[in-house]
């Protein structure tokens, strides 16, 4: 089987994926699958999507070689600069695709979940641009630690609801967004923010982020003499990692998805079913989903996209974890050595690179710098005080 192609008819990547949703949502998922399949095969839609990525999101994003840090680590370190996209992260790729699709399907309203707020901001942005109503669910804990992003969303006309149930973080925001969608499915599209959820989301969201990997493959070839030895990205749900992996899955490059130690679904989970999918999941002995704990709201998720579970199960990608302390160091290191303040999420990827550099001397390492750190500056100011 070709890796990172279309999933099976039941939305499976190996044993992972599927469509575990309430009956009410089955027709909506089927309709979305058909609409995406149709749109993705339509040159007019593809052109419209390419145009909006170029003229609104600012693609292609550049590659930056980090000479100072690379020299210090003994590697050639190249960053894919998704932090330079409009709204400050890779999330805009997926959201613009889904918003175009929602309009094509005649939907007038988006609902979205958000952790750190990047997907929520991106959704609010696309909704403002395309004249869609938008409601974003965000865990109350995250609302408190990411208040700038909450303000941004409201500024662009979206409603933000602080979710008070469960762990009051990303997983509960997903629950609440699904509950909304169950009640509003007629006019509403659920703009899911990662390569997770029921079929067709893991596949569709990966396809919308494939542009990251496709661009990087070409840029590496043009400017750096060929494919990298290692491709590294952080993994919560795993969308930015899927995006960049998709460009290199058929090369000899080592693919590394870095999880937070407190939310290591692949590293510490066992297969389970939540949020519409079968995937690795942190759960207790009775199958209750456990709460993730990490410094980064965007990675505070106890599950992971099903295609990551598949890539892990066949050994094509590896999923190590890093601690909050390593992340705090990496966040400062990139800021000081390269003048780039990363978001806490991609700081996880860098933390792994810093730790493993002694074993990769001379290697070319491509990291997906999936978002910029502006949103995290207030939180880091408290931590570093």
């Amino acid at each position: 089987m070709t890796l990172m192609a279309e999933p099976s008819a039941t939305g499976r990547f190996g044993e992972f994926g599927g469509r575990f949703v309430p009956e009410t949502l089955v027709p909506a998922c089927q309709e979305l699958e058909a609409a995406f399949r149709d749109a993705w095969a339509d040159p007019v839609f593809r052109q419209e999507y390419r145009d909006i990525l170029r003229d609104y999101a600012g693609r292609p994003s550049i590659l930056t070689e980090c000479h100072n840090l690379g020299r210090r680590l003994g590697i050639r370190l190249v960053m894919k600069r998704e932090d330079l996209n409009h709204t400050g992260s890779h999330k805009i790729n997926n959201v613009l695709g889904q918003a175009l699709l929602a309009k094509r399907m005649g939907k007038t309203r988006l609902v979205a979940e958000t952790g750190a707020g990047q997907h929520g901001v991106a959704s609010a942005t696309a909704a403002a641009l395309m004249g869609l109503e938008c409601k974003v669910y965000m865990g109350a804990v995250d609302v408190a630690r990411q208040e700038l992003n909450v303000f941004r969303m409201r500024l662009m006309g979206s409603e933000v609801e602080a979710v008070q149930s469960g762990s009051r973080t990303l997983k509960d925001a997903v629950n609440e967004a699904m509950r909304d969608w169950v009640a509003t499915v007629g006019n509403t599209h659920y703009c899911l923010g990662s390569v997770m959820g029921p079929h067709p989301y893991p596949w569709m969201v990966r396809e919308f982020h494939r542009v990251i990997g496709d661009e990087a493959r070409e840029q590496m070839s043009t400017s750096f003499g060929g494919d990298p030895d290692v491709v590294v990205a952080c993994v919560g749900g795993g969308s930015n990692a899927m995006g960049i992996f998709s460009g290199f899955v058929d090369t000899g490059a080592r693919l590394v998805g870095v999880e937070p130690a407190g939310g290591a679904a692949v590293g510490r989970g066992v297969p389970g079913v939540v949020h519409g999918m079968r995937s690795y999941l942190m759960q207790d002995e009775y199958g209750q989903v456990q709460e993730a704990h990490s410094i980064s709201a965007g990675l505070d998720y106890p599950g992971v996209g099903p295609e990551h579970s598949y890539l892990a199960s066949i050994g094509r990608a590896e999923y190590p974890a890093v601690t909050d302390a390593e992340v705090i160091d990496a966040f400062q290191l990139l800021s000081r050595t390269e003048g780039i303040i990363p978001a806490l999420e991609p700081a996880h990827a860098l933390a792994w690179i810093v730790r493993e550099a002694p074993t990769m001397q001379g290697a070319t390492v491509l990291m997906n710098l999936s978002g910029r750190g502006d949103k995290d500056v207030a939180q880091m100011m408290e931590i570093l005080r």
């Binding site: 575990f20 309430p22 089955v26 469960g166 629950n175 009775y286």
Partner: protein, 261 residues
């Protein structure tokens, strides 16, 4: 179509044939006082009981049942402890469980079906396991004589409903509205519309649940359906006032659906 009806379906068919409308209260297992509430509901005229097994991420449930689930989990309830307590209930009516699929998936299909059977449970409702994904569980449940109730939603196209009904054991759970469990001020028009569509194509008992919020709405629903499931309205009374209030409420609904039209 299939084998002889299971215990719950046979009981429902018999009662329906005798002209009785079916009343199935939902009670969150493991919530302090749940066993007393369950016995009170049976004494007040319930035809079966749906025991909720709390889950950390109940996507089909609104605020009341979410809160009840969380309180039960905080009190230390587990699927094992609830099934253990269910075994001690000694009530005459059939007992079903309502649970989310990961509880089954984690335990293993066959093992979990056997655990239900040995606790005296005869049916299971798994709201996040739609028809296309239900095969492995249904097979294991059939093997242990656990009746798997299928849900039918207002969004289902006509071609889907016969397949849902064909796989349903016990009863068909006709979802009353677009939305999660919880009380509403009026019965949604979708409730009787869907129940009517189902009644037209199946002789498996059809019960309306989700958004049937009081005695008057239950009475309205059974004009078309064979019965009702009452969830949030029951659980709210248990949370706020205890087992006696549950018994009084079930008696009130019983009287309303029994009354001559």
């Amino acid at each position: 179509m299939s084998a002889a009806p299971g215990r719950m379906e046979q009981s429902f068919r018999d009662r329906r044939a005798a002209g009785r409308k079916l009343l199935v209260p939902y009670i969150t297992g493991g919530l302090p006082g749940w066993q007393d509430a369950l016995r009170a509901a049976v004494a007040a005229g319930a035809d079966a009981i749906e025991i909720g097994i709390p889950f950390s991420d109940p996507v089909m449930d609104g605020p009341v049942i979410q809160e009840a689930s969380q309180r039960a989990l905080d009190a230390g309830a587990t699927p094992v402890s609830i099934l253990h307590e269910a075994r001690e209930l000694d009530v005459e009516v059939p007992l079903a469980v309502m649970l989310y699929y990961n509880t089954v998936h984690h335990a293993g299909h066959h093992r979990f079906a056997e655990q239900l059977a040995s606790a005296g449970i005869v049916a299971a409702i798994v709201p996040d396991l739609p028809l296309e994904e239900a095969g492995p569980w249904c097979e294991a449940a059939d093997a242990s004589s656990i009746e798997t109730v299928m849900l039918a939603a207002p969004t289902a196209p006509d071609e889907r409903l016969p397949r849902v009904c064909a796989r349903a054991r016990g009863f068909v759970y006709s979802v009353g509205l677009l939305g999660v469990t919880g009380e509403r001020s009026a019965l949604a028009s979708t409730a009787t519309t869907l129940a009517g569509r189902l009644k037209a194509i199946t002789d498996v008992p059809v019960l309306v649940g989700v958004g049937v919020s009081n005695a008057a709405q239950a009475r309205e629903a059974v004009q078309v359906a064979d019965g009702v499931v009452q969830g949030a309205s029951v659980v709210r009374r248990l949370l706020e006032a205890g087992a006696d209030a549950v018994g009084e409420y079930v008696a009130e609904v019983r009287a309303a659906i029994d009354a001559d039209i």
